[in-house]
């Protein structure tokens, strides 16, 4: 209590550090350290929250009968990986090409992310020349997604898809990059 400490005793305290004063100092340092950690750890954990993997959401792109054989189409959908307040940015697109039935009578699709493998810009499909072209640095891909020319180090990113009850479904694509492609997240 402040009333207990007279001016003279305060002056004495400053002169010679007693055991209890040193204890108090260490206590203050330890408490400060603990308090810092108590704030810093959850805060850093919060900051690193977005680093997470394996979020699988399937998106229905409609009945497979909607996809004519050997035609590439831009299909748009609301990406469920985002937030409800994403607005128009939630609207993502993928290029879908129906390849028909394979040898074992299963439907086959080619599905590409819209993003160029070079720096992520949106490629455009030119059906007349059967090429995807990127407006940024002129990366070009063939209709099967393979790299045709320009700076991209690889072909277009393939989306994971499945046919469920006659509907084409894809794993909702994240923003694909060279080391984090759209391979199966499962």
């Amino acid at each position: 209590m402040s009333e207990d400490s007279s001016p003279s005793s305060a002056a004495e305290d400053v002169g010679q550090p007693t055991f209890s004063r040193r204890l108090l100092l260490w206590l203050a340092i330890a408490a400060g350290f603990l308090a810092t950690l108590a704030v810093a750890l959850p805060f850093v954990g919060y900051l690193f929250g977005p680093v997470r993997r394996n979020r699988i959401r399937w998106v229905n792109l409609g009945a497979i009968s909607n996809f004519p054989k050997d035609q590439t189409r831009l299909e748009t959908f609301d990406n469920p990986l985002g937030q409800s307040w994403d607005g128009v940015t939630a609207q993502n697109g993928v290029f879908v090409r129906y390849l028909g039935l394979d040898a074992s009578n299963k439907d086959q699709f080619l599905i590409f992310a819209i993003n160029c493998a070079h720096l992520g810009c949106p490629v455009t499909w030119f059906p007349q020349s059967g090429l995807f072209m990127c407006p940024c640095h002129g990366g070009v891909y063939y209709e099967n997604g393979e790299h045709a020319s320009g700076p991209p180090p690889r072909g277009l990113f393939h989306c994971v898809w499945r046919v469920q009850d006659g509907n084409l479904e894809i794993q909702a694509p994240h923003f694909p990059t060279l080391q984090n492609t759209l391979k199966d997240q499962g």
Binding site: G93, S129, L131, P151
Partner: protein, 492 residues
């Protein structure tokens, strides 16, 4: 007036502002820095003045702007078209920001040329380098606030670059975007960067920068032969200040005048040119977008586009670090010796080379001839001059040429894409066989031209070759292969 002075005196008797601020304002500076050479010293204060305009207009914009992915675009439109003078605040925020980048760069160049970073002002320079980075960081994050396709794909390019970092890439992309896709989380993050994090850092560094200017003093204009020697500099500088003049005088008047002019210039530009964008909504499925970085980054866009593919990742990730490191090392490489530009040819040459390089790369970035023109195949018709006297085969070939989007990369009469060579007179350069080879196989080894072999039917190829070989000036024969007849000695 008398009352006002009395009030001022009453306040200052308690606040004691005068006794702490006036000595700072009146601190002596070298006589030379206040004279005619003082006109070189105005870029720093002009940067500061424009920063104040940025803070003011930034707060103004924050009163209306909604940093949410679903409403940001609409709030920008409201600022542009509905809220009185909202358009002006947006325009001023953009052009004062641009002016600030210009002033910071000029300030840095002047300090470099005058050797003002040498002893004892090394730390002032280092803090200045970080202030430049903060300014550029504000520019990039500010572009994201303009929530349009340029902002969206700017984030995409940044994420794709960061994603190339070995091992950590994918995690860094998640941290940058705040989530798996470009959207609400990314905008909120960059809003926090633009409004809280970078400004706080910038103001903190600025305080240190100004503190250092006061403590180390303003450098005298350089004189050839007057070398900086850390052992004697302090005493010499002190001696120089004996004949110095207070900052609050001729020097401050120059600063005030130029700052006022800088503000007037950006206000006039803002009022005449108006706000920049937003262009379209940030819809990632919109076709025909043409993402471009803001002008301070066009040189990097140019550099990355013109570099060989093998050097790309290095240029994206390592080169910027080396560049910043080089800037930070400047005062340690040469913190003594001559300061006058006339005695420092390498320094002058460095400035000339760097300015020329940045200028050329910025021009290249602005015109970006490497980008295909995505609408040229349907938007730019084959010039009538070329097809006026064409045969039906050639006309059919011209159609194939347009239809196969050749035009996106190849110009005719200078109109069309600039990625590939202009084909106006290709018939004089390549023979029919060479043309067919080029179109079928493209550039060998996955170069600039895709192989059209599988995309084009034999009939289409025939008429296309017919059209291309016809592309010659009047009266000029088609190209021939330069093979000497067998058995004959080669001439020359």
């Amino acid at each position: 007036m008398k009352w006002l002075r009395a009030l001022g005196n009453w306040l200052d008797a308690r606040l004691k502002v005068r006794e702490s601020i006036m000595p700072m304002m009146k601190h002596p500076i070298p006589r030379g820095a206040a004279g005619r050479m003082g006109w070189w010293y105005i870029f720093g204060s002009a940067s500061l003045t424009l920063l104040i305009v940025q803070i003011l207009t930034g707060i103004g914009l924050a009163l209306v702007y909604v940093p949410s992915a679903d409403n940001a675009y609409e709030s920008l439109l409201a600022l542009d078209y509905e809220i009185p003078l909202g358009w002006f605040l947006r325009a001023l925020h953009y052009y004062a920001g641009s002016g600030m980048v210009v002033m910071v760069l000029l300030h840095m160049t002047q300090v470099f040329l005058f050797g003002a970073y040498k002893y004892p002002r090394e730390l002032t320079w280092i803090v200045g380098v970080f202030l430049l980075l903060c300014t550029l960081g504000m520019f990039f994050s500010g572009q994201i606030m303009r929530w349009d396709p340029d902002a969206y794909w700017g984030l995409g390019v940044a994420a794709a670059m960061v994603g190339r970092v070995p091992v950590l890439g994918p995690s860094l992309v998640d941290l940058l975007l705040g989530g798996p896709i470009i959207g609400a989380d990314a905008l909120s993050r960059f809003f926090a960067l633009h409004v809280f994090i970078i400004p706080a850092l910038l103001l903190f560094l600025l305080a240190i920068h100004l503190w250092l200017v006061l403590k180390c003093g303003i450098s005298a204009p350089p004189v050839a032969g007057q070398k900086v020697d850390p052992a004697t500099y302090d005493a010499e500088y002190e001696k120089e200040l004996k004949t110095g003049v207070p900052f609050l005088g001729e020097a401050a008047i120059k600063d005030a005048l130029v700052s006022a002019l800088a503000v007037i210039v950006v206000v006039v530009i803002a009022a005449v040119v108006g706000p920049k964008g937003p262009t379209d909504p940030p819809d990632p499925t919109l076709a025909n977008v043409n993402p471009r970085p803001e002008w301070p980054f066009l040189w990097l866009f140019g550099l990355l586009s013109l570099s060989p593919a093998g050097a790309e990742t290095f240029l994206m990730l390592v080169f910027p670090v080396l560049l910043i490191g080089a800037l930070l090392l400047v005062p340690f490489i040469a913190n003594r010796g001559e300061r006058a530009p006339s005695r420092r040819p390498i320094a002058v040459l460095t400035v000339i080379v760097v300015v020329t390089l940045l200028g050329i790369l910025t021009y290249q970035g602005a015109t970006s001839p490497w980008s295909p023109r995505m609408q040229a195949w349907s938007g730019d018709p084959v010039p009538v001059r070329i097809v006026k006297n064409s045969t039906p085969m050639e006309l059919q070939g011209a159609l194939v040429f347009q239809f196969k989007s050749c035009r996106n990369c190849h110009a005719l009469d200078g109109v069309g894409g600039k990625k590939g060579p202009d084909l106006t007179f290709v018939g004089t350069r390549l023979t029919r066989d060479q043309l067919i080879d080029q179109v079928s196989n493209g550039t060998p080894g996955g170069g600039d031209m895709p192989a059209y072999g599988k995309q084009i039917s034999p009939a289409e190829m025939t008429v296309l070759a017919e059209f291309l070989t016809s592309l010659r000036p009047k009266g000029q024969p088609p190209a021939r292969t330069a093979i000497a007849a067998p058995g004959k000695e080669q001439q020359k």
